[in-house]
């Protein structure tokens, strides 16, 4: 009987431990060891190396705006190290639409081309700049920002650093118009009519 109780308790605790795993993914604590060891225990130089950006070398430029990320999901060694990268590629005339990163500022380094950038602070001031090769621009934590390659010919390549292993991304167009928020709520919020909202939703809907 005691053993039956133990078994039940065993499974109860086991299930609890599953719950915890998910929380683990959720946690970015200051760590008390040098780094966070992965489950299989094999930690060597490869563990601290990320090769997913090699595709950029000699790769054909994309035909639409494209982001490559090296964050916690792609590069587990970043766990607890509070830093990550993204590489941004802009063909002519493309934008990185207005968005926020909930957990970090972004420090963009322009490698190739010319880029228009901007952000809006919480007092509704718009700050913009046209960057040239070699320039850095910092987008402060949690604010709405965007980038635009206005050049009709030259593509843009930029590297962005973040002070978090998982800065997160809230893309405003898709958040607002592709997730099913009620038309009426959006129409009232944007002081427009439902038809305009539906037109925006249609334009942003995934193509079949």
């Amino acid at each position: 009987m005691a053993s039956r109780t133990s078994t039940l308790k065993f499974f109860s605790l086991l299930i609890s431990s599953f719950a915890f795993f998910q929380m683990a993914m959720a946690g970015d604590p200051d760590i008390l060891t040098d780094f966070v060891v992965p489950q299989n225990g094999t930690v060597d130089g490869n563990f601290f190396t990320y090769t997913g950006f090699r595709v950029l070398v000699g790769g054909a430029p994309p035909t639409a705006f494209k982001v490559l990320k090296a964050s916690l999901a792609e590069f587990p060694a970043l766990n607890g190290q509070s830093v990550s990268y993204a590489v941004l590629q802009f063909p002519s005339g493309t934008t990185n639409p207005p968005h926020t990163h909930p957990r970090s500022a972004e420090l963009l380094f322009l490698i190739q081309g010319s880029l228009q950038v901007g952000f809006v602070d919480t007092k509704n001031n718009l700050f913009t700049q046209t960057l040239q090769v070699g320039d850095l621009f910092v987008f402060p934590k949690g604010l709405v920002h965007f980038q635009y390659n206005a050049d009709s010919q030259k593509p843009v390549l930029a590297i962005s650093a973040f002070g978090s292993a998982n800065a997160g991304l809230v893309s405003i167009p898709s958040t607002l118009f592709t997730t099913g928020i009620d038309d009426n709520v959006l129409a009232i919020s944007f002081k427009t009519d439902v038809a305009t909202i539906q037109k925006l939703k249609a334009g942003l809907a995934p193509k079949p």
Copy 2:
């Protein structure tokens, strides 16, 4: 000559100290005293009391959505205490438009009426709920969320708590369409035409 140098250095340092004051306002450090003493040195029970919400008692309900805040700006004793409040009032049919708080989650407590709420996570999942009196709803840190009083008759009163003395507010409609972001950037970002962007801007522009 030495004295001239000193004087220059004096002013240089003085100016530096101005820079610092502004930073002070910017800082929410863990504090090493019980509370942060204001400049005039008069600290008594009144310093820890905020009376700006008394206007709610017996006041006429507003005719448009209205927010009253008790944050660092209104209530300096919150400095270093990592907590603040807002009171939200929704006449029938009004919304608190999609927005984010860059520095805190929001815990809403519905005091009167019925309220539709929702937020979108960074994987573009929409979570919605219709709250009744007495319900709490938590909007996680940094995510886009909104509230809507769909009832045609009853007003709504809600209290929201934040885990920061200055949670900040990024209102999406005004951030996007009243700050001067280029029409073309917005049209490309929202996959629509410039005319639609201009219509949205016109609708949200302050009335003369």
Copy 3:
């Protein structure tokens, strides 16, 4: 033999994972996801809603001082969001005895009645105030504070917000006089006699 070792190691690690679950409950880290997913994986609008305060609506007022909490234990979605609530109800002549919250300041919002409040800082200064409906009062982090409904007729209702999902409570009377601290230690500490200590203990002891 190898397999036996593996099995032992398996259980050893398994037990370790139990240890971790308990630590999970203990942790309030800055999170790297939008929210912390619970074990069963069902996350919808209900997960972010807490209905435990509905009992307040139309409920009979309590006959003794009463606290309703919406913290991590009652509302798991608060995990990682650094905010929580308590509702305080004071019949005439009752107190919330001197206490501290080890992990947060408290921001009290007086909804009904008139309330005397006070706290003592680490330099032994007492700050007091008599609040009227609509007033806020902030009790700084970690300091001893109390509230008292001195009105002989009207009950008091207050809402308190905390900048932690689990602010914690150290109630001074029960901590000192109901947990078995040695009479002699208390008598020396309070510069009184053992008889007085025993009288205080008797008064605070749970009634059979």
Copy 4:
């Protein structure tokens, strides 16, 4: 005229910078330099040395419980370093009365004598221990704890470390009974009569 405005603005900003100095004292931020430079600019080995504990060497033992602190106030180089010390001396039969440290755990190291220690957690569990020379005991953050030299002959010497440059001290007896909290509030809170409260206050009042 412009110059007059400038002058006014100058003084306004200057006054603001005074406000900031007080806040500086209040702040324990993670620092971005190696250490915090004091105002006079003279930083040498002496700045990082504290000699205030030399009085312990060969000094006569005290006749009452005594604390020597090396925290931010006594040793400014600790600013931003998140660590401090206290030395505790207990003549026979004396206590360090129940107290809390709002900003840190305490790690006590018993150097001489035998010491009874205890603390109460937020679930009202009392944990006690009798320490012998060489023992360490950790009092968790923010909880009420006490120490007692029950030995009728030997004095006690202990060193305590804190994980904050200014852990703070809330001494329960003096906080409750020497700061002017209303007798009635205390009597209700401790479920006793006003006479008992007044007796306790009298016993703890400073002797003339």
Copy 5:
């Protein structure tokens, strides 16, 4: 079939939970409970007591520099409490070689003897001091520091406190010259020849 999938998922999650255990050891989050409960659930006064320093009482002095630690590994109750100790013993003429602690400042308290101490800041300024009994010295976070008992006769005893449960230790001589870093890299870095590097490596190699 469904059950097979469940079983696989079961093991997959189980393995994940192992990964987490290791992370647990890695984490020093601010905790949301009073303390972190160990796996066996037995928490009493002994759990909060560390007796590993009793060997110092009446023990023979060591013949080489020796460190005794009471950190997270030796004393699990320190988990989440952000404080730890080390005891340092220096026979005549011995050093604690240049080293850093990645996660904390060090506050040294000299109990016996006379000690030469020093550290170098990030601007390459050397700060030194000769301490006498009773003196404290703070080594700021993350900087290279050392201690030396220059006295030809008297041993030194010192206690060091850290503002982390696991400050960590990077000993420079062994890090550089006993871990297999390429001779050539070291020779170029130290602007010397390979022979000198090899001589240093030989001197620091563990004796058979």
Copy 6:
């Protein structure tokens, strides 16, 4: 007379505010505004732009290892944003000597050439890797690490991101051998003779 007192107090406070400025530079607190406003109040797009890396575009490659930094000192808008960059240039056969960053991990992105990298953890394990163009490597917080361009012909260009506005640099060779640490302390610490220490010091001494 009163005015004289005021004047004195004025200067006393003024001096205090200078002390604070230095602390300001020292502080990397979580900020409560969107960004930290500089002293002159002129905040536009240029404030958030750093052009100091333009020299890299078309510039001649350096003849010795060279670091260009964009941290708090060079780019004040990074204040409170917890992110910064460095650009590293390695001619053939050069190293970035063993060093630590006290306040951040480093995430290196190899843009050109082939680079040997390595770090040593606090258990004296050496982790090394040879990186090719496009690879990332993370050096965990506070650990000793180095980089080496072993190629006899091709130069190396790398970009490193840090999760702090001022990661700091402790270069081991110069810290140990150019700051005046006593020869004897170093000889004992490195288990070598004074002559070897003096040879190392001579090699690293600045050339006249």
